[in-house]
């Protein structure tokens, strides 16, 4: 089981470097930018007043701009899930189906490892890789904190990153689940990605159309606390994400146990004729 775990972790190493550094650079930039807007709330509010509804919605609550937590949330933690989500849905959908579509899973599954242990090893390596990315991102942001007037400590932004990790884990589990139901890895990643995007826009527009709250509650971003978790994690929201992730993983595990492993070239529900 450890051989599979470390083999998969090795495969994620470039993603860890790329995504970790990218998120760290963005985080550093956002933190350092705070000083330039901290004393400009009045002028920002004046400019935003004349903007169309959609721009206001996308910009977020302007009054939050000048608070350290509001700034970090609106400019980093709220938008990062959309880009980092690409990693989540692609890797989640590819945990098994990538190797299956490449025709490599047959051989790997001929080794004496039960499907449950194989599932655990691969999911654990993805979770660790995601955790490492979040860790690098946290280090990047933390390194810039002493040079700003945010007044937030490195320890203070741990919980928002925990919240980010949980949200990404949910989308990975969802994409993994979809990969066992939908015809291909790309379609599975796309389906999970659509849910992420819809969820994001619901959160954007719920500020200008409160009636959307009912729908937004059905989507995962509602339970993601982002920068607001600097004040502490909302346990209920945390539990909702944890339960949803566990549920998606549980369904994915059951589907994998009964899965008929496809050979390369089979990309649909119907198996092509092969010898």
């Amino acid at each position: 089981m450890s051989a599979t775990f470390f083999y998969m972790l090795r495969r994620y190493r470039l993603s860890v470097v790329f995504w970790g550094l990218s998120l760290a650079v963005i985080g550093t930039f956002v933190v350092l930018m705070y000083g330039s807007v901290a004393d400009k709330q009045k002028s920002i509010e004046r400019i935003m007043k004349g903007m169309p509804l959609i721009v206001k919605a996308l910009a977020g609550d302007v009054s939050q701009f000048v608070t350290p937590v509001g700034w970090l949330h609106l400019k980093y933690f709220f938008v990062v899930p959309v880009s980092f989500g690409v990693f989540a849905v692609v890797t989640g959908a590819g945990v098994f189906v990538h190797d299956e579509e490449q025709g490599r899973l047959d051989l790997l599954m001929a080794y004496p490892l039960s499907r449950t242990r194989l599932f655990l090893a691969r999911c654990a390596s993805l979770a660790v890789a995601t955790c490492l990315i979040v860790l690098v991102a946290w280090i990047g942001m933390s390194a810039a904190l002493p040079y700003t007037e945010l007044g937030v400590s490195a320890a203070g932004i741990v919980l928002p990153f925990v919240s980010l990790f949980l949200l990404m884990s949910f989308f990975q589990a969802l994409a993994l689940c979809f990969s066992f139901i939908l015809p291909s890895r790309n379609i599975a990643a796309g389906a999970a990605g659509i849910i992420l995007i819809v969820s994001f826009f619901l959160e954007v527009f719920v500020h200008v159309k409160p009636k959307l709250m009912m729908v937004a509650r059905l989507f995962p971003l509602r339970y993601y606390q982002g920068g607001m978790a600097t004040h502490g994690l909302n346990v209920l929201d945390l539990l909702v994400l944890l339960v949803a992730t566990s549920l998606a993983l549980g369904v994915a595990w059951k589907l994998f146990l009964s899965r008929q492993i496809r050979v390369m070239g089979e990309g649909s529900f119907r198996f092509g004729g092969h010898q």
């Binding site: 450890s2 051989a3 599979t4 083999y7 495969r11 490449q102 025709g103 490599r104 047959d106 051989l107 790997l108 599954m109 001929a110 080794y111 004496p112 490892l113 039960s114 008929q260 492993i261 050979v263 390369m264 119907r270 198996f271 092509g272 004729g273 092969h274 010898q275």
Partner: protein
């Protein structure tokens, strides 16, 4: 541990992919310690059966036993004692040969020594420092063969093992098969190359469209095969003569005097028919497994 004299036992195994019936009730028995040739053209159901044996796919019906165990209920134990070479071998191209063999060794739980792997790599002339992405098909096949045999399994399942290998390496692989047999292992050898099956297999089965059309000892199968006979006559013979000989087919004819024939069973009737036409040459060619294969296909087609 369950005991059984059969390494593989299949009874009425069926498997379909949607409307496509891939296995239509496969019955076969592979005795322990034997090399069993599983022959058939592409699409006959060979790989489907192998994938059922290793629990990658599940049969729709019938009963399967591998080394006395049910591969669906006890798949880890079955795979621990089995070495498998897939027909379509795809390896992680980001690794080197040495790295992937180390991975395979570790996935066997450390039961294989690095030395054993090195010996096999040396024997197959495989450079372990080379990246997989730079390997030819034949060299990738060598990686597949090493990982299948390195733990000296009780059962070797080889799907087209010599595919992509040069003649020297083909011979080396057949030697490995014979060595596995010599230490008491069973080998399930799927191939569409009849010559190599004939060389190493104690028994063989021919599968067509998901059904075993014939199985038995390789030598017995060849005895019952079509015999090719080349004949040269002094005087021309009317082709209608052969219409009355039920087990004789004219494959080639030149001037009604030089003939290539295929005969099933006794040659007596043919010799009687040719008598009186001045037989100058009568050369029966010994049957090969190829002939067995073709004879069954000709029979099915007719």
């Amino acid at each position: 541990m369950p005991s059984s004299s059969a390494a593989i036992s299949c009874q009425g195994v069926t498997k379909s992919y949607g409307a496509n019936l891939a296995l239509r009730g496969i019955d076969l028995e592979v005795p322990e310690g034997e090399v069993f040739g599983f022959l058939g053209p592409n699409g006959a159901g060979k790989t489907t059966l192998i994938r059922c044996l290793l629990n990658m796919i599940r049969p729709d019906g019938g009963n399967l036993q591998v080394l006395g165990r049910c591969p669906q209920m006890d798949s880890v134990a079955v795979r621990a004692e089995t070495g498998y070479l897939p027909g379509e071998l795809n390896l992680d191209t980001a690794l080197t040969v040495g790295q992937i063999l180390t991975l395979f060794r570790r996935m066997r739980g450390g039961s294989v020594s690095p030395r054993k792997v090195n010996v096999l790599a040396e024997r197959l002339q495989l450079d372990q420092s080379r990246p997989i992405r730079h390997l030819s098909k034949g060299n990738k096949q060598k990686v597949g063969i090493i990982q299948a045999v390195m733990h000296e399994p009780r059962l070797l399942i080889l799907d087209e093992p010599t595919s992509g290998l040069d003649p020297l390496m083909q011979r080396e692989v057949l030697t490995l098969v014979q060595e596995a047999k010599a230490r008491g292992a069973s080998v399930f050898f799927s191939s569409h190359l009849l010559s190599e099956t004939e060389e190493v297999a104690d028994r063989a089965a021919i599968v067509r469209a998901g059904e075993v059309v014939v199985s038995g000892e390789t030598s017995a199968l060849m005895r019952n095969a079509l015999v090719r006979v080349s004949v040269t006559l002094e005087r021309a013979i009317a082709m209608e003569v052969f219409d009355h000989l039920p087990n004789v087919w004219v494959m080639a004819n030149r001037n009604d005097r030089d003939l290539a024939l295929q005969v099933r069973g006794e040659l007596d009737a043919l010799m009687r028919a040719l008598a009186g036409h001045g037989v100058q040459r009568f050369e029966p060619v010994p049957a090969t497994l190829e002939d067995v294969f073709l004879s069954h296909y000709l029979r099915m087609a007719s």
